[in-house]
Symmetry: C2
Subunit: 555 residues, 2 copies
């Protein structure tokens, strides 16, 4: 099994270096190309996915009781069931596996993790189908974000874990000089990496792999065994992941129960029982702020890492490219119908308008400029389907309708029929115009294809309101458009203090929603949008502990 | 002020290297020698300390209200008072100071920390007097543990903080290749280190500086401002520390309120209000398990780092040096009258005795061998005073008496009169013999000069009992005596799994109580004796966050 480590060592070394320098780097090609993944890979994955529908998903540990009520937002019947493991059993099995996994060498564990990621990468088309038909993402997004990008995030966690563990020397000679011609005191010391125990990873419905892999791989690499509890509406992507991981573990001679799937249904949820189980030592959670807050309170003193939600803002002050700005904002609003934790919701625009390369633009010019750009992007059902995808949760559709009644509609939302998916749940972006004082509307998280053009006195008010929202409601991203350096500097200070990653003057092919592994620190952990970052040293360093063993040494 | 960084850069570089290699290293000489610290330093410090007695301690921010009821365990009247700052005011001042401190460069902050440590080192004799007459430590121990060793622990925290912050690049160019002959996507990224805010450090009564400095310096270096809340019985050492720190901050052009002293009295404690104040983001605590547990529960979701208490064990299986073993154990029991969080309490000895270089030794031989060795160490009042020191808390004397009535006394405790301190509160070590089944006695923390020789079937039972105690009650140290490698290996496995640092076969000048900065990881954080380690990456990495700022880059 050591061969896994050697086989992937160069990838690991590059990943460690990339996480340190934070430039562009990726281990797994994002193009869903037959040249890279094999000419038959796409068709084979499609067939494999179809063969899973309407059947029990084959995974150990099994049992007669089954759960599973996933529904494809694209309208496809799934009807896949999974073993209904009792939490006590799931945790018990993972605990039994813990001793051997804890005693494996760092290289053996990291090698297994790298091999799992490698095999996940080879199965990117299959995972893409699973992600598409649980989250509602378009196929291309499901492939990229659910496949290679998620694998990159997992690899990043492995790289951080490996680097932090390797910073602890395995052994040291301690030799303290003594006065008066005496011999030095000499001790031989060993340092053991000791994991916390069993970790729980609680998945989300929109990016089950991208958000799930960092916690899974950080815990595995540091020697913890893992119980994976997917969102009841997005089980399949993580079930495939766990099955692949178990196969690699078994081949490497480890107990496959080093990772265990614990699926549930919304009517009988098991997450609270899992994250408060006495044998659970670590919890990774992605989901709502309400449930995140419950977990932070009730799972303490376990190590808890959360990504929750917030209100992301854009502040418009001025721009050298009106077209570039409106197109870029429109794309950000449209991408996966605003169902990204990084999607902007509140766009602060000065009431008196702004200066642009096309001359002065009024508040209404900007609002309609963004609206028209969204319309251009979503005009054809084909294009809309590829960009917007489908709506993961029926509650989101209801929210679109309810919010539309509460403000001035700049762009109404409408359903559309993606080619080939007549039963898909869809909605084009809704845009409202509101006043800065209407914070009870735009300042609450309105998850889904809902955004607000917010009228403020000037960009200063916009920055202040956006930063305050971030501080009190949470935010993962912020964006500013300004041609003056002092405005950019003020925005940088305000958003840094509020713990929000800031993008400046995006007018081209990079969007505020996008967070690149090895380069962007996703979530700061410094505001209510989450208490942890994907990925930094703090994300891995407390998942293991160091225990010293010392004895007198010979001279 | 940058000159502070340059002035101490070589010390910092050595500290970072030492923390990585974990061999012997120390920045601050432990010998209380006039050659090192100046021939007049000792006398001057003594005079300065005497001049503090019976007077208001001069420190800003002040005010008319005063607190302070410290009493020297050596019998000296102290009668020093400190400003009685309201918690709201203390936190408010530290919060006001936070913005400038957060925006200082890493080098400026670390430079200030290094200069503070340097000046603390120059004042080691003064701090020694303060530590001696609050904790009851002997002068030599108060000098070493309260001075240079504490400074080393503080420096270690600065080194870890500096290394972790420096691992985040200040800037990066992100350049993602695009297919089809397009230009790459290019972004310029900056990464800012953002502190959490205001930190609280809650000191203890026995090692106020050694246990307080890691949290203080870890938080300061990472950009947080600090409110220091000393134990009401050991204010002076931290008051001197804060005063020195404030002087350096002021000289460097920072707000002295970057560190604020919040003293209190036992009858009107302020710690709970402090650690739950809305503006407090980080809590470092050293103290009892009861209060530590309250803080872990109630201060969440703040970052909480605790060192609490536990039951440390020694397991005796066999030894190649009966004299060395008994002398070493005796020294460990005697040192500062067992008032160290690292002192052993339960000594597991096989009922049938053990093999030694002096032939077979019975259970009674071992018990009396240890007792005699303690008597030799503490026979003269002069020697006893230097080794045992005085008893910090009157409750400890009461405990010695109460516990003596509950078992077979092997060595009774008695008071002694240290030369020059007729009113000192003292007690020589009490040793009892008990059965393995008497866990309700030896398995509870019996803080002070109290230890138990515990009769077990064999060393296997001893290891199992000791490791279980560590797991469930907490333990910071363990010690084993064994000539066979398989016994040592079994002990290493069991104690590592219980998260306890293990010392093997100590028969010379190294004692299980001693934990060396830069080499020993003090507390694992993996059992109830504390949730954090002094010092590892996890101790510093979550005290700051990283916020990115990105913008499109020119080609």
């Amino acid at each position: 099994m050591t061969s896994f480590f050697e086989r992937h060592r160069s990838v690991l070394d590059q990943a460690v270096a990339a996480a340190g320098s934070r430039g562009y780097w990726s281990a797994y090609p994002e193009a869903p190309s037959g040249k890279i993944y094999g000419e038959t890979a796409k068709a084979e994955a499609e067939a494999a996915f179809q063969a899973m529908l309407g059947r029990p998903f084959e995974i150990e540990p099994g049992g007669p009781a089954r759960v599973g009520r996933e529904e494809s937002p694209w309208g496809l019947p799934l009807a896949i069931t999974y073993p209904a493991l009792a939490i006590a059993d799931a945790v018990g099995l993972a605990k039994t596996a813990a001793h051997t996994w804890a005693h494996a060498s760092i290289e053996d564990r990291v090698g297994v993790c790298l091999e799992i990621l490698h095999r996940l990468n080879r199965q990117s088309f299959l995972v893409a189908n699973a992600v598409m038909h649980t989250t509602g993402q378009s196929f291309i997004m499901a492939f990229q974000a659910g496949g290679p990008h998620a694998q990159d995030r997992g690899l990043e966690a492995v790289a951080y874990a490996y680097a932090e563990m390797r910073r602890v020397p395995a052994a040291a000679r301690w030799e303290k000089p003594q006065g008066g011609g005496q011999d030095p005191l000499r001790m031989d010391k060993q340092f053991r990496i000791v994991p916390r125990g069993v970790a729980a990873v609680v998945g989300c419905a929109t990016f089950p792999t991208w958000n799930g892999y960092p916690g899974i791989f950080a815990s595995l690499a540091t020697g913890n065994t893992v119980v994976v509890k997917p969102h009841p509406m997005a089980i399949l992507p993580l079930a495939i992941t766990v099955r692949i991981a178990r196969a690699v573990l078994g081949e490497a001679g480890f107990d496959p129960n080093t990772i265990v799937l614990a699926a549930d249904e919304a009517t009988n949820p098991v997450t609270k029982e899992l994250v408060t189980h006495p044998d659970i030592a670590i919890v990774d959670f992605t989901g709502s702020s309400t449930f995140g807050s419950w977990i932070r309170q009730n799972a303490a003193p376990r190590q808890v890492f959360t990504e929750e939600a917030g209100v992301n803002s854009i502040v418009v002050d001025s721009t050298p490219s009106f077209k570039g700005m409106t197109a870029n904002i429109a794309f950000s609003l449209a991408l996966y119908s605003g169902q990204m934790c990084t999607a902007p919701q509140a766009i602060f625009v000065p009431a008196g308008g702004i200066d642009t390369d096309e001359g002065h633009k009024s508040f209404d010019d900007i609002a309609s400029g963004i609206a028209k750009a969204v319309e251009r992007l979503t005009g054809s059902a084909d294009r809309a389907a590829g960009l917007l995808g489908a709506i993961q949760n029926p509650a989101t559709l209801a929210r679109v309708e309810a919010v539309a009644a509460r403000g001035t509609v700049i762009l109404p939302s409408r359903p559309f029929e993606p080619p080939g998916f007549p039963a898909a749940r869809t909605a084009t972006p809704l845009i409202l115009a509101v006043d800065g004082a209407d914070e009870s509307l735009y300042g609450e998280e309105q998850f889904g294809p809902i955004s607000f053009i917010v009228r403020v006195a000037d960009s200063g008010e916009g920055i202040a309101r956006a930063a305050a929202l971030a501080k009190h409601r949470g935010a993962i991203t912020a964006s500013v458009y300004a041609t003056r350096d002092d405005v950019l500097a003020r925005a940088a200070d305000a958003f840094a203090e509020a713990g929000v990653a800031l993008s400046c003057n995006l007018t081209g092919g990079v969007f505020v929603n996008q967070s690149a592994a090895f380069s962007d620190y996703h979530v700061s952990g410094a505001n209510p949008a989450g208490n942890a970052c994907l990925t930094d040293a703090a994300f891995v360093a407390s998942r293991f502990r160091v225990v010293g063993i010392r004895r007198p040494a010979a001279a």
